[in-house]
């Protein structure tokens, strides 16, 4: 029995078990402080080698979820199990505008914890993939936003983790480069059997790329399953939401917000210092 569970769990790259992320709201008008559930009792499993799309409207908890997945934030409740090394593909983070493209490869590589040799190894790959050419000698502050993301994405891509977390990484830059990235991701998916968690507002991109999907709504999992079905449901919902009158939208958002907020007893200053 126990062996079954252990074996079973080994198949999964990511296991979320009743994960919640709670923020204390910063409000002065209220007598009692309130907690906001950015995520509430989220449970799911992602198999190794699976490409999973996260769907949801703005503020539904996608980014919080991806941060917890990446190990940048810790959950307030619940447990997260990650089998393997995960890395968030952060495109613009860690680039220094004053430094040249070349120097930024060193700098961001070091920020990401790559060794000296590894950085040397990836340099050529990054230079080639980013297609920046002569501009690599120019300071990054002179780059267009598309060029910046191309450089950042290329460095992140060279990390080679077991689990990629891609949060809106392909929505900047031109179509040609986005397609190139998507091709590269497909290659990772098909040839290297990487697990990929993919967040994009482009339903079309998600649908063509992902096997499964998790639809987040108001910090909870609304539905999950094969991409086709979830995508269908989600796009249906998006149309419903878009067709709402401004008042209707407001009402819906308010009720969604109220459902995520909980009043709590006031705690002293010492609560900051406890975990």
């Amino acid at each position: 029995m126990l062996e079954d569970i252990l074996y079973d769990n080994n198949e999964y790259a990511v296991i979320f078990d009743n994960v919640s992320k709670i923020y204390r709201l910063n409000d002065k008008g209220h007598k009692t402080p309130r907690d906001f559930y950015a995520l509430r009792d989220v449970s799911f499993k992602i198999k190794k080698g699976e490409v999973c799309g996260l769907l949801g409207i703005n503020g539904s908890g996608k980014s919080t979820l991806s941060m917890i997945l990446a190990g940048i934030q810790s959950p307030s409740k619940g447990t997260v199990t990650i089998n393997g090394h995960q890395e968030m593909v952060a495109i613009q983070a860690g680039l220094n505008g004053q430094l040249t493209g070349y120097e930024n490869i060193d700098y961001k590589g070091a920020l990401l914890g790559l060794s000296k040799n590894k950085i040397k190894e990836i340099k050529d790959v990054v230079c080639e993939f980013s297609e920046i050419g002569e501009f690599l000698d120019q300071p990054v502050k002179k780059y267009s936003s598309g060029m910046k993301s191309r450089l950042g994405f290329s460095i992140s891509l060279a990390l080679d983790p077991d689990i990629y977390i891609i949060d809106e990484a392909l929505s900047v830059g031109d179509k040609a480069f986005a397609d190139k990235c998507l091709d590269k991701m497909n290659e990772l998916k098909n040839n290297s059997k990487k697990t990929i968690i993919f967040i994009s507002h482009s339903l079309q991109q998600s649908r063509s790329f992902c096997d499964t999907a998790i639809w987040l709504d108001g910090g909870k999992v609304r539905r999950m399953g094969p991409m086709d079905i979830i995508c269908h449901n989600y796009s249906y919902y998006i149309h419903y939401y878009q067709d709402l009158s401004p008042e209707g939208k407001k009402k819906e958002n308010q009720s969604r917000f109220d459902a995520r907020v909980e009043e709590v007893k006031r705690k002293g200053l010492h609560s900051i210092f406890r975990g």
Partner: protein
């Protein structure tokens, strides 16, 4: 607590290349930032020293301290001050200024104080070049005692990192910490016997001044260049200095360990 200390030490030692590269490119970015670049690393401290020298050496007619002329005596003290002061004020900001990094990637936060200190150490080396040229002009030539500098620099770095560990975490909890420290540092320059001789004070006040870790480093630097008494001559201050430094390091590590997963919530 020991777990925390072990955690911070292993994270720092395991990421030496990362610390070195971040510091290096912070300096490079700063140099690229201006047209004259590296020139300012020398010009800035030089202008500051000239200001203080003009004020105290010329306007207030400060006499030689013992056998040592005022300008070289002050210069050695200022060298330490212009190293440790930015270490402390920028150390407060060590984590906060890297908000864009720690919120976007998995990052060993406890190495950030060290990266700030090494940037300042580079500036300190620039300042030391000016100091040594000044000393040579005044006829203080290299001696075996100059090697003591290595010890005192290492001690200063250790102290600065320990203090920055504490301050950077506290500054994440409340940003008021840095504002408070900025105000205190302005005061501390005059409260530390850098521009004036400690012997002008009554005995009991002298004792309090000697407890100041910054003054221990200042005394050490002056010993290397002028007095040549050796490191062990100041063994009491040395013991106190390391007691303070290790306590700060223990507190800083504990804070760092306790907050390591929660810095993003505090941004």
């Amino acid at each position: 607590m020991f777990k925390a200390i072990k955690y911070v030490i292993s994270e720092n030692v395991g990421n030496l290349y990362r610390i070195f590269t971040i510091s290096k490119y912070t300096i490079t970015a700063d140099i690229h930032d201006s047209k004259l670049g590296l020139f300012w690393n020398f010009a800035n401290p030089l202008i500051q020293v000239m200001t203080y020298w003009f004020l105290f050496g010329i306007v207030f007619q400060r006499k030689a301290v013992g056998d040592i002329p005022y300008l070289p005596w002050m210069l050695t003290g200022m060298a330490v001050w212009f190293f440790l002061s930015p270490c402390i004020t920028n150390g407060c900001n060590a984590i906060f200024q890297k908000a864009g990094v720690i919120s976007k990637m998995k990052f060993p936060v406890s190495i950030l104080p060290a990266t700030v200190i090494f940037v300042e150490f580079f500036n300190h080396i620039c300042f030391m070049i000016i100091t040594i040229i000044g000393l040579l002009l005044f006829g203080f030539y290299p001696s075996i005692y100059w090697l003591e500098l290595i010890y005192y620099m290492a001690a200063a770095i250790l102290f600065a990192i320990s203090l920055a560990l504490v301050m950077s975490v506290l500054n994440m909890i409340a940003r008021d910490v840095r504002k408070f420290v900025l105000a205190i540092m302005r005061l501390l320059l005059y409260l530390t016997p850098i521009l004036w001789d400690i012997k002008t004070l009554p005995k009991n006040l002298q004792f309090i001044m000697k407890c100041n870790p910054i003054f221990y480093i200042v005394t050490g630097y002056r010993d290397c260049f002028f007095y040549h008494r050796g490191i062990l001559f100041y063994h009491k201050q040395m013991a106190l200095f390391f007691a303070i430094t290790l306590t700060l390091f223990a507190i800083g590590s504990t804070l760092m360990y306790r907050f390591k997963t929660r810095f993003i919530d505090l941004l």
